[in-house]
């Protein structure tokens, strides 16, 4: 235990992590190559549509990772994490809106179209600064971070836990959704922000930009994975597990449980915000629908189906469920919600440790470090 190896090397000691990062790296490199270098007629060609779809999944995977960090390791079941994702997305969307400039329908150099439409004369104060990329990026981190800090401070200090916490997180995202739906809020009302043109001068429709965004999303996911891995493998992570499984014991050992929860909750919210910021330029729109409670519940389903408390399980769950969603909403649109509900029931009843738990039972050799297998997801 007392090695002096660099932190990064220590994180790579875990075989499951190595496998995961290898697959992610391969994905990040091969998919853009197949899109850009292989001619369109070839069977190996990856269409830009598929590339963008995969890029979207990568953002969802990062979001799932952020939820697994708090739910899988600290037992904080947030049913409102979509709110942090959406806030990050809106911060990015506001920058992209300001970049449109005179190319908007109304051609106003400063005001976005929806403000001209509402007869607004000048930019609201909270839109100032969003023409600067760096400022928007700072807001991508600060907006979800500060909200999570204030919310977490109030909730954890008052010792709101379990289902009560889940309910107020749900209320939080619902309240934000209602607020963002209002035109007077100044975020484009129910249409949200869309019609984006370019990002740092790069055309959002071009293949090069789309490939770059895909690669950056994969990179963000990889770095976030390493961060979460570091957090959960340190003594900090063991305190989180102690809070999850024996909260009062942890208090009586002298740990300020509320500070630990607050810290990990803020980190998680920031990761969710970054996921949202990467998502918006790839899908080309952000609207209040992203705040809807059902979205946040879906994230929980991804993590539960993948297998919570493993980090990479959340990523796998996000990919599988979203692929299923893409397929079924196209092929059998009426069935999707039933299927999603069914998946959740099945995974809760028969796969308490998700796909990862199942694969470990079927292929014991895959289980990586044996200890980790048992450690995951206690209640």
């Amino acid at each position: 235990m007392t090695t002096t190896k660099p932190v990064l090397l220590k994180l790579l000691e875990d075989p499951a992590s190595r496998r995961f990062l290898a697959v992610l790296t391969a994905l990040a490199l091969i998919v853009p190559c197949l899109n850009l270098l292989v001619p369109e007629g070839s069977v190996f060609h990856v269409s830009t549509y598929t590339l963008t779809l995969l890029g979207k999944y990568l953002c969802y995977a990062l979001l799932a990772l952020s939820v697994d960090l708090i739910w899988g390791y600290c037992g904080i079941l947030s049913l409102g994490h979509g709110a942090f994702f959406a806030l990050g997305g809106y911060a990015m969307g506001m920058y992209l809106m300001r970049q449109i400039g005179e190319r908007g329908v109304y051609g106003d150099p400063i005001l976005p179209d929806f403000m001209v439409f509402l007869n607004w004369q000048e930019l609201p104060w909270f839109w100032l600064g969003f023409d600067q990329f760096w400022f928007a990026m700072v807001m991508v981190i600060l907006a979800p971070g500060i909200l999570a800090f204030v919310f977490g401070w109030l909730a954890f200090r008052s010792r709101v836990t379990g289902v009560y916490l889940s309910i107020i997180t749900q209320a939080l995202t619902f309240a934000l959704m209602l607020a963002f739906f209002r035109n007077e809020m100044g975020f484009g009302g129910n249409n949200g922000l869309t019609d984006f043109k370019d990002l740092l001068g790069f055309d959002l429709q071009s293949d090069a930009t789309r490939n770059s965004l895909f690669f950056i999303s994969a990179l963000a996911l990889g770095l976030a994975y390493l961060l979460c891995q570091w957090l959960t493998r340190s003594k900090f992570g063991r305190v989180l597990v102690a809070v999850r499984d024996a909260e009062s014991r942890t208090r009586f050992m002298g740990y300020r449980v509320e500070y630990y929860k607050l810290f990990v909750f803020v980190v998680s919210a920031v990761l969710a915000g970054i996921a949202g910021a990467l998502y918006v330029p790839q899908v080309g729109i952000i609207n209040p629908g992203e705040f809807s409670p059902i979205n946040s519940i879906e994230i929980i389903v991804w993590v539960a189906i993948g297998g919570r408390g493993t980090l990479y399980g959340a990523v796998i769950g996000a990919f599988i469920v979203n692929y299923a969603k893409t397929y079924f909403t196209a092929a059998f649109p009426d069935l999707w919600l039933f299927l999603l509900g069914g998946l959740f029931v099945v995974s809760t009843l028969y796969l308490p440790k998700g796909i990862i738990g199942l694969s470990r039972r079927l292929v014991p050799a895959l289980s990586g470090t044996g200890k980790q297998a048992v450690k995951e997801a206690g209640q």
């Binding site: 235990m1 007392t2 957090l231 340190s234 003594k235 900090f236 063991r238 305190v239 597990v241 102690a242 999850r244 499984d245 024996a246 009062s248 014991r249 942890t250 208090r251 009586f252 050992m253 002298g254 740990y255 300020r256 449980v257 500070y259 630990y260 810290f263 200890k371 048992v374 450690k375 206690g378």
Partner: protein, 253 residues
């Protein structure tokens, strides 16, 4: 019965006129208790006598309705949270053995080990040889050294009890509150435990709440009898057992 200020002078724990009620039920009723530094004190009482509530009041889990609770003469415990009180040097073992079942025995011990408890200390924590040595010492005392890499959830009931006591020792508190440590232990383990607690006393102060009379006898120390939230009798086990009110409470009704 209220203790005078002069008694407070040489106390590690001082409770005076403490009451706590839940929905009109007085779980603790004008309780006064004084523990001297280094003392080993056994507390007995029938079910519902208020033993666990008393522990909750001392460790900050509950606040008294009225009354004073002082630690080390001048620290007013009613003003602090559980974590703050734990860091001041009061350790608690729960009635139901409570360890982190999804961590290994060693990891449980490492979490309990005395040290800084801030978030950043945990993030950049490196185990030290002094810390490892201390954990080894505790393993020598409680056993379980050969099971250090097992998950704590895999331990037998009595082993969990021992682990929790070990965690308490690793925490190195001045005052140990031990709630029914002998429950679920074999006679042999109980015997060892009484020796252990006696050896810990002196350097630390120990308050043991227990039902098991054999265990109390083995502790061979001053006994306080709680009944309906207040002190019924205090003295050696013989004195207490011959006290008429105690006999009435335990055997009568």
């Amino acid at each position: 019965m209220s203790l005078s200020i002069s008694h407070k002078e040489k106390s590690i724990l001082y409770m005076s006129g403490v009451s706590k009620s839940f929905d009109g039920f007085k779980a603790i009723n004008n309780l006064s208790l004084l523990i001297e530094p280094g003392e080993l004190r056994a507390i007995i009482g029938p079910n519902g006598a208020g033993k666990t509530t008393m522990m909750d009041l001392i460790t900050g889990k509950l606040r008294p309705d009225v009354g004073d609770i002082f630690f080390n003469q001048d620290v007013d415990l009613t003003q602090y949270s559980e974590a703050e009180i734990a860091n001041m040097g009061i350790g608690r073992k729960f009635q139901k053995p409570t360890v982190v079942e999804t961590l290994t025995v060693f990891e449980n011990m490492e979490l309990a080990l005395a040290g800084k408890r801030r978030v950043r200390d945990a993030l950049f924590f490196k185990s030290t040889s002094a810390g490892l040595q201390r954990i080894d010492e505790v393993f020598t005392t409680i056993g379980l050294g050969d099971k250090r890499n097992l998950l704590a959830g895999a331990l037998a009931h009595g082993e969990k009890q021992r682990l929790e006591i070990g965690m308490l020792l690793a925490q190195d508190p001045d005052l140990l509150l031990v709630d029914e440590p002998a429950a679920g232990m074999t006679d042999d383990e109980t015997e060892k435990l009484s020796v252990l607690l006696k050896s810990v006393a002196g350097e630390h102060s120990v308050v043991v709440v227990e039902h098991d009379m054999e265990f109390i006898r083995a502790l061979d120390t001053r006994v306080t009898v709680l009944h309906e939230g207040s002190v019924l009798a205090e003295g050696t086990l013989e004195q207490v057992q011959n006290n008429e009110r105690v006999i009435e409470v335990y055997l009568g009704r």
